[in-house]
């Protein structure tokens, strides 16, 4: 009798370990995948910026500094590509800030705003900015779920087995990025 009871408990335990382990692995892969989604959007942004710079360069002779800041921030961000979450977050934060400033400055050039090409590029870039923000939001949510799971009892007992490590969140540290003025890039006149 005792042996059977022991066996049953053992089977339940093994089943639990397997489920908990698999759950953690699934969460880990989700976290990695969510990070890749950010990467895709960051690459898209890096690819779009030279187009934007070339398009506006001619009309924005007086804003060399703003343009240069964007170009510099882009190369820094691209260099930090292979680094950890923190480095990437910092470099990309700088780029977001520089781009935000450029968009504000562009508002002052009516002929730029009326150009179809610029409007298309602006929509593309602001959409990419949004995609980065939403991908970051998803990554932070998924990573938080993963972190919570591996710290909670009793799942934390198999965390070592699943080689689970705390995933770093993408936090907005740069004060400049937080303070980016919200630019309404919608192309419509305000309506009631």
């Amino acid at each position: 009798m005792g042996a059977i009871l022991f066996l049953i408990i053992l089977v339940i335990l093994v089943l639990w370990v397997v489920t908990a382990y698999n759950g953690l692995i699934a969460l880990k892969n989700q976290t990695v995948n969510a990070w890749k989604q950010i990467d895709v959007q960051l690459k898209r942004r890096h690819d779009l910026i030279p187009n934007l710079v070339n398009t506006v360069k001619g009309s924005m002779d007086f804003e060399k500094e703003t343009l240069q800041a964007v170009i510099d921030a882009r190369s820094k961000a691209m260099a930090s590509g292979g680094g950890g979450v923190k480095e990437t977050a910092a470099a990309e934060g700088m780029l977001t800030g520089a781009l935000g400033k450029l968009f504000v400055v562009m508002e002052r050039y009516p002929d730029l705003k009326s150009s179809q090409n610029v409007r298309d590029l602006q929509e593309e870039l602001s959409s990419t900015e949004n995609k980065i923000a939403f991908a970051r939001q998803l990554y932070n949510d998924v990573a938080t779920g993963y972190n919570t799971k591996q710290q909670q009892f009793p799942t934390n007992l198999v965390a070592g087995l699943a080689k689970a490590e705390i995933a770093e969140l993408w936090e907005i540290e740069d004060k400049a990025e937080r303070d980016v003025p919200t630019v309404d890039l919608s192309l419509k006149k305000p309506q009631g």
Binding site: Q37, E124, S126, L138, Q191
Partner: protein
Amino acid sequence: MTAGINLFEQQAKNRRLTVAWLALFILFFAWLGFGGDLALYLEAASRTEGQVAYRFPWIGIVVTTIAAITAWVSWRKGPQQVLWSTGARELTNPETVEEKQLVNVVEEMAIAAGLPKPKVYVIDDQDPNAFATGRDASTACIAVTTGLLAVVNREELQAVVAHEMGHVRNLDVRLMTLIASLVGVIVVLSNGMGRMLRGSGGLLGGRGRKGGGGLAVAALIVFVLWVITLILAPIISRIMAMAVSRDREYLADATGAELTRNPAALASALEKIETHEAPTTHIKEGAAHLCIADPLGRDVNLKEGRLADLLATHPPMAMRITRLKGMAFQQLKAAGQLPPT
């Protein structure tokens, strides 16, 4: 994350309801068919004093088979049917800035929800509205009217698409599209059978003979029940569809707000949809409960109370807007950015 638990509960509930609807649908037609057979059999038996040979229930088998096939077709083709009936065209090559913006916004919301990008459709209709359809996230389609594109700004468009993405993520699309096509089939078939019945001049009428007694009464009861189901089915199925739809609108509003973290934008989008209401020419009654706002502009959707609750496809707009503004208020409060009062 509490949101995650709610999500799985909601998906499970929608899966259960989908199966229940399919089962009810087939049972309903089985009753229509076999009930008819039973009435005929009892009637024949009453005339011959029980001396009737076994009658093959061909009506029942034919009707049930047709129902099963229609259910299967609705399941497979429901999304295309809905899109086709509204005259939606797929946006494969966005040309104007508005169209590009729409495609971008859908991509953004797909990323926020962590789902594959749904197909984007546009309906040439002045009434601002939007709906989502599909069997699951990978076959999902989001359609918006040109009227919507004309009145909302980018943030509000994003909020509307987020609401639709919420329907996709919660698996509402599957249930609601299925219900849309099943209710359509019930209405059409019930009407058709009712007409056939009237055409045949009544099965039992004028045949009141003596003899058979109890059997004749049984035949009459079955027959009366059968006719009552035929008459009530379209009404009851619509009321059930509306109840399912109303529930899910609040939830999709909440999911949409969770995706954009911007409930205020959805509130102002709903306000605009309400004020810019124009008669819809493309969205028919069958697809009404899929839409973000009732395209038929029925007054019941504005009221509260028992009767309105029963007949409206959507919760009262004012209630939805109030709830969203409440969420926006909570958000500001949490961020410590409340304006001084």
